[in-house]
Point group: C2
Chain length 233, copies 2
């Protein structure tokens, strides 16, 4: 720790891990880079942090450019700092993971991005240390969603309990008992039952629910123990 002037300066970037759910499986949005280096290779979407921006700002900007969406759920995952992680020049990267409603996503026209949704278990090879970043993000998603009402962010505003249950099944690769799942979720008081039903997926039809915005924030920290602990790393 000595004088500022003697210190090296480094490049500073953000990378975004974007989860989506199409109703069947959990997916990740990755881009095929339209620029050098590694043009044509698969990569997380990212960008350099500008002068006036915090990393949060930069990640929000990158997400907006890619998806056209503002105000997505987003949280800092980890700072990746290995000196040699970027093969061009040392770059510090702060990774953010975000959850988006698959239905709201509309591909943006941008020469730099050629985004593709990949099933979370069938990702292509990614550049640099992006594979490792994704692994950490998957782990954190499972960890956090076991304790907090997070997965709603992946669903449309209106969703049914069977849909939600299937999402949990995708994320944790375990079956949940229908009855117990319903009871446990409704007992959190986080959901409001709507009048209409989804009749596409069954004959009887399943009621739609939406998240109760008043209760959501309060309930965020009292959602614990939703998934048996042996499934949470």
């Amino acid at each position: 720790m000595r004088r500022y002037s003697q210190q090296k300066r480094f490049l500073f970037a953000v990378d975004c891990i974007i989860f989506g759910y199409d109703g069947l499986e959990l997916k990740l949005l990755v881009i095929q880079r339209g620029f050098e280096p590694c043009k044509g290779k698969w990569s997380l979407v990212g960008g350099f942090v500008q002068d006036h921006e915090s990393a949060e700002d930069a990640a929000g900007r990158v997400l907006k450019e890619l998806t056209g969406l503002d105000g997505l759920y987003m949280e800092q995952l980890h700072a990746f700092t290995q000196p040699n992680r970027d093969e061009v020049e040392r770059t510090i990267s702060v990774a953010y993971f975000s959850l988006i409603d698959f239905q709201k996503y509309k591909q943006q026209i941008n020469e730099d991005y050629h985004p593709v949704w990949f099933p979370i278990n069938q990702l292509p090879e990614l550049i640099f240390d992006h594979q490792k970043i994704v692994e950490l993000a998957k782990e954190k998603l499972r960890y956090k969603a076991a304790l907090h009402p997070l997965l709603f962010e992946l669903l449309p505003a209106k969703f049914t309990l069977p849909q939600l249950q299937n999402l949990y099944t995708c994320v944790y690769n375990i079956e949940f008992d229908k009855g117990n799942f319903t009871r446990k979720l409704l007992s959190t008081n986080l959901l409001l039952k709507l009048k209409d039903k989804d009749k596409l997926n069954s004959k009887k039809g399943a009621f739609y629910y939406k998240v109760d915005p008043k209760r959501y924030n309060a309930g965020f920290t009292s959602f614990l123990n939703f998934v048996p602990s042996q499934y949470v790393k």
Copy 2:
């Protein structure tokens, strides 16, 4: 996202949040800066990341310089990236929090550091955004220790259950039932009972325990639900 060469470079530092427990209360190690800027003011210990180092490396080095100890428990807390957080020049800081055995700590002679342990609830004013960093670290300590066997890192290798209970009481500011606390802890099978007792704190004396190293790693993820959820933010 354009060419690397057009991008700005920034200073890159680490800050360490160091928790200790003296048997009575939870404490934080802060330094009185012996160098400019802010000479004489209270601050977290930190340092710039060098060319060859990852942030982890740098944090480990800083900790070693301050405490003389290697291999301390350490984990990344958060990257702090507000453009104006350092008043001299824009500096990205990755914060690490670590837990140390108070008894092992020996002050190192170093003209830059004048370290002092402060009770966690009676901290002096800190420079820059260090107050905010500490708040986040306290929150994360409580969160993580509620789910994982973490607080052992603050105790000597040999400790008694009443000591451990008191530590939990300090961290969460709640009383734990003696009987239930004991049972719950022993049921984790993480502890090995030793033959000798601590007779300093009571007439009857309390058996010493140590962490079972074999079980510790396995049990790290299955320690959930130790603290009632309303006390975990």
